[in-house]
């Protein structure tokens, strides 16, 4: 008795419920969420269908092979190909593990959430008729009991935003602020250590000193799993001290300051990093060696010298090349463009009161609460001395960005403006960048000798080789996600090979074969046998002809927008005749679908369940 119920009634109920929910979700906004849920279940079932489809493919082709049916060899090829693609794709054969890009520059260790300390503060959500479900990123860490909020782990910016989003009342926001201030790592470790509750991992930025290791150990010494936390912290400390080396030729001008040498050092054979190299360190290393070779705007004598250097190594520049030479150098940077930007940087910004301050104001009886604190102070203009330093940097080929920044610091420039100057110099092209761009422009305008090209590209090649080496150090020093984290479709893997050289050509060829069959069918079947067929034939000829380049030729003598132009005729045919015909068909289909769906939902049409047998 149970089996028939499971076999027929349950699927009928699922269909009726699922269909009704989707219909209601479409027309009634209150049921929108239900529709989402039903659709997610549909996706789970669709994923299962892939497995069933694979199983069915196996069954059909194995049977064909076993029965030695006509064409069983093709079945064997299909099965072998299917298995190969499945194995190569599923097990990611030959693919490299993915780099842990979101934690670049950080050492990572597994650290269960239960090991993290729990923090609490007073606070409660306002009463609502429906329960509030916290967002996924804070759901496991947060609990609220008897007017207290408990939070396990350190609160990140995103988690703080999620906490705030639970309630917009000032009291709640104030409680969140208090909790956020408490649930943080010790002051000495802030900015270095963080906890990722999503991944249940503890991360450390930079090289961990013995003192920092002791501080971390002390922090978790009261934990129930003290031995586990201690082992994890030792493991994390060891990961921050792993040495990575790459062999490369060091640029002549490379100088790594002492404070950076904790993480990266130059050795006689290349570079050596302790712990994972951060993106900031990578960018600094890539550029710092070429800081002294920034391309400053060239004066006329400087341009003449550069042109002479180029011409000395080969043929003289043609007239077109001379124009390209001037054009390329004129497109360089200019301090006059940057100074107005710097002048407007660092304007006093309005402040914001904290929610706790607003709560206090509320309690003090202030009725109109203002979160914003108006900006005070004025933006001072750049001093003459600061302008002179900037001008000197532009004109002097000897002045490095560090020297300019050092001199600006002595003039009591604001931190915001100094940061803007730092950003500006980071974007300036080096001599290698300038000469490479110049080389490309000159080559577009005319020929260059081999020696001329080599001379223009020399610095760019050195820069490229150096960046490659720094990039290699960055990749090698940073951990991968996990062994199987690589992409199944990575270039050069067997899966990629089969996709590129077997699947893709086969699919493209199959589609392309249509052209041949359509040609044959056009000759044999497309005939003006009656009025309807003649109309269809005429339309087909218009559409076919419009999709050629000669349609434009026909259009040529006609004025723009002429009603007899091919484009207008095509648009007219498609928008009027085609649209009308298609709408009629679509409305018919829609009515058919509606009536069939109703029959399925009401259980009248049960054909999708198969036969009783």
């Amino acid at each position: 008795m149970v089996l028939p119920v499971l076999k027929r009634t349950v699927p009928l109920l699922i269909t009726a419920l699922g269909g009704s929910v989707l219909v209601m979700a479409f027309f009634i906004p209150a049921f929108e969420k239900w529709g989402e849920e039903a659709s997610i279940w549909f996706d789970i079932l669709a994923a299962m269908a892939f497995i069933l489809g694979g199983g069915n493919l196996f069954k059909v082709h194995l049977k064909a092979i076993s029965d030695r049916k006509k064409g069983w060899g093709f079945s064997a090829v299909t099965l072998v190909s299917f298995l190969l693609m499945l194995i190569f794709g599923l097990f990611k054969v030959g693919s490299h593990p993915a780099p842990s890009t979101e934690f670049a520059g950080e050492s990572v260790v597994s650290f269960p959430l239960e090991w993290m300390p729990e923090y609490s503060t007073a606070g409660r959500l306002r009463d609502t008729s429906v329960g509030i479900v916290p967002p996924a990123q804070i759901r496991r860490q947060l609990r609220m009991v008897g007017g207290q909020i408990f939070y396990r782990g350190w609160i990140s910016e995103i988690e703080a935003e999620s906490l705030d989003s639970l309630d917009d009342q000032l009291e709640w926001l104030c409680s969140c602020e208090t909790l956020r201030d408490v649930a943080q790592p010790p002051a000495e470790l802030r900015g270095k250590v963080r906890y990722l509750a999503d991944h249940q991992k503890l991360t450390f930025h930079g090289v961990m000193t013995d003192q920092e290791e002791s501080q971390l150990l002390a922090l978790f010494s009261d934990s129930n799993a003290a031995s586990g936390t201690a082992a994890a912290i030792h493991q994390l400390a060891a990961a921050t001290r792993v040495i990575t080396r790459v062999e490369t030729q060091l640029p002549d001008k490379l100088q790594i300051p002492l404070e950076r040498q904790v993480a990266v050092r130059a050795t006689p054979t290349g570079l050596e990093a302790t712990g994972p190299v951060s993106p900031e360190m990578r960018d600094w290393l890539s550029r710092s060696a070429f800081y002294s070779q920034l391309a400053k705007p060239l004066t006329q004598p400087g341009r003449d010298d550069l042109r002479a250097e180029i011409e000395q190594r080969g043929r003289p520049l043609t007239e077109h090349q001379q124009q390209a030479f001037d054009r390329s150098l004129n497109s360089g940077w200019d301090m006059r463009q940057f100074i107005p930007v710097l002048e407007s940087t660092g304007a006093p910004k309005p402040g914001r009161k904290t929610s706790c301050q607003l709560v206090e104001e509320q309690r003090a009886g202030i009725s109109e609460l203002q979160r914003e604190i108006p900006a005070t102070g004025v933006l001072p203009p750049l001093t003459e001395q600061q302008r002179e330093i900037l001008a000197e940097f532009e004109s002097s080929s000897d002045m490095s960005p560090e020297q300019m920044i050092e001199q600006l610091q002595r003039t009591e420039i604001s931190a915001a403006r100094l940061a803007a100057v730092g950003q500006f110099v980071k974007q300036l092209p080096t001599i290698g960048d300038r000469n490479k761009a110049l080389c490309i422009e000159l080559l577009k305008a005319g020929p260059l000798s081999r020696e001329q090209r080599d001379w223009l590209l020399k610095e760019a090649r050195e820069q490229y080789a150096w960046r490659q080496a720094v990039g290699e150090l960055f990749v090698k020093s940073n951990p991968v996600k996990y062994a199987w984290s690589g992409s199944y479709a990575e270039g050069g893997t067997p899966f990629d090979w089969m996709y590129t050289w077997v699947l893709q050509p086969l699919m493209t060829t199959t589609f392309a074969l249509l052209a041949f069959y359509v040609g044959s069918a056009a000759f044999r079947a497309f005939r003006a046998k009656n009025l309807e067929a003649t109309l269809l034939l005429g339309t087909a000829l218009i559409i076919l002809f419009r999709a050629t380049m000669f349609a434009g030729v026909v259009q040529g003598p006609l004025p723009d927008g002429s009603v007899f132009g091919m484009d207008r005729v095509y648009a007219f045919v498609m928008s009027v005749f085609n649209t009308a015909g298609n709408r009629a068909i679509m409305i018919g289909i829609a009515l058919g679908i509606a009536s069939t769906s109703l029959k399925v939902l009401l259980g009248i049409d049960r054909s999708y369940l198969g036969s009783d047998d």
């Binding site: 997610i40 996706d43 995103i158 699919m507 380049m549 207008r568 648009a571 085609n578």
Partner: protein
């Protein structure tokens, strides 16, 4: 009569050979003419031109290698145009073989032409999800209902450009390249139609899909590129505006290059249709002429 008999019994392999030559010769000789953009291509271009820097664009690449020849050129041109407009690009696909198409676009257009664009800040690959139009149905109101991570497995909350995206209603524009089912039709039905005041869709499709999509223009579908012809016209517009330094860049000349073979093949096809009809009328006349006079007069 010999000629009529020959044409009546023409072996289809001759037609295959003719089509083969019509495609091979222009391909080998690189036959190419300039393109004059038509109304539909200009509508698509204009819609993308409206984008402001930082606007979010959903790039739905619903095609696979079968239709790659026809659709990849327009996908490249779309990516170039949107990246040049400094929009934030969210790549997605509803086809199992779509991820390779997305990777191809990123490798061919984004990485070489826009190295300054940062993954997660300026563009993101959300990858493939099974469920066909069911996926559209969910993400139109709740992106995280199906997408908790991107194609690389990074949580959406850790991807800066995804943090504030609740659903695809937050997108300024949907750009869909559609090769089969599910495709533009499903995006119209499940994304644009229920939220017509919020969503704007432009698309590119194969020639055979186009007649089914024209009824949706312009209310539900703001613009449509049809087959290689549409791609070539749009490519010309993008090249004229954004690839001026190298208009013959092969990445943005594919569609125009393919118009040569297509044009000749279409002309051959037109010739075959006309020839087929000549044979039909000749045959009809011949039959009539060979009938006995009494029957002929009653015909």
């Amino acid at each position: 009569m010999d000629m009529l008999h020959f044409l009546q019994t023409l072996d289809r392999r001759w037609i295959f050979l003719l089509i083969g030559i019509a495609i091979a010769v222009p391909t080998l000789t690189r036959l190419k003419f300039s393109e004059t953009p038509g109304q539909f291509s200009q509508d698509v271009f204009r819609e993308i031109e409206k984008l402001q820097p930082g606007d979010r664009v959903l790039m739905a690449w619903d095609y696979d290698p079968g239709t790659e020849g026809e659709l990849n050129p327009m996908a490249n041109a779309f990516a170039k145009h949107c990246a040049a407009k400094k929009a934030k690009l969210y790549f997605i696909t509803l086809l199992p073989l779509g991820p390779q198409m997305i990777e191809q676009t990123i490798d061919d257009v984004i990485l070489p032409d826009y190295p300054e664009l940062e993954y997660g800040e300026d563009y993101v690959n959300l990858g493939f999800k099974s469920g066909y139009e069911g996926v559209i149905k969910v993400i139109i109101t709740n992106l995280r209902g199906l997408y908790t991570t991107d194609a690389r497995g990074i949580s959406l909350d850790q991807i800066p450009m995804c943090r504030d995206v609740k659903s695809i209603q937050d997108m300024k524009l949907i750009v869909n390249v559609s090769g089969s089912y599910p495709g533009t039709k499903e995006w119209v039905q499940y994304a644009v139609t229920p939220y017509q005041d919020k969503m704007t869709l432009v698309g590119g499709c194969t020639g055979v899909q186009a007649p089914l999509l024209f009824p949706y223009i312009p209310e539900q579908l703001s613009g449509l590129l049809v087959g290689i012809k549409g791609a070539a016209e749009y490519e010309q517009l993008v090249v004229d505006h954004y690839v001026q330094e190298n208009p013959e860049d092969p990445r943005f000349a594919d569609a125009r290059n393919r118009m040569g073979p297509q044009s000749i093949a279409h002309l051959v096809m037109i010739g075959l249709i006309l020839l087929g009809n000549v044979v039909y009328f000749w045959e009809k006349r011949f039959r009539k002429a060979t009938l006995p006079p009494d029957i002929r007069s009653s015909c």
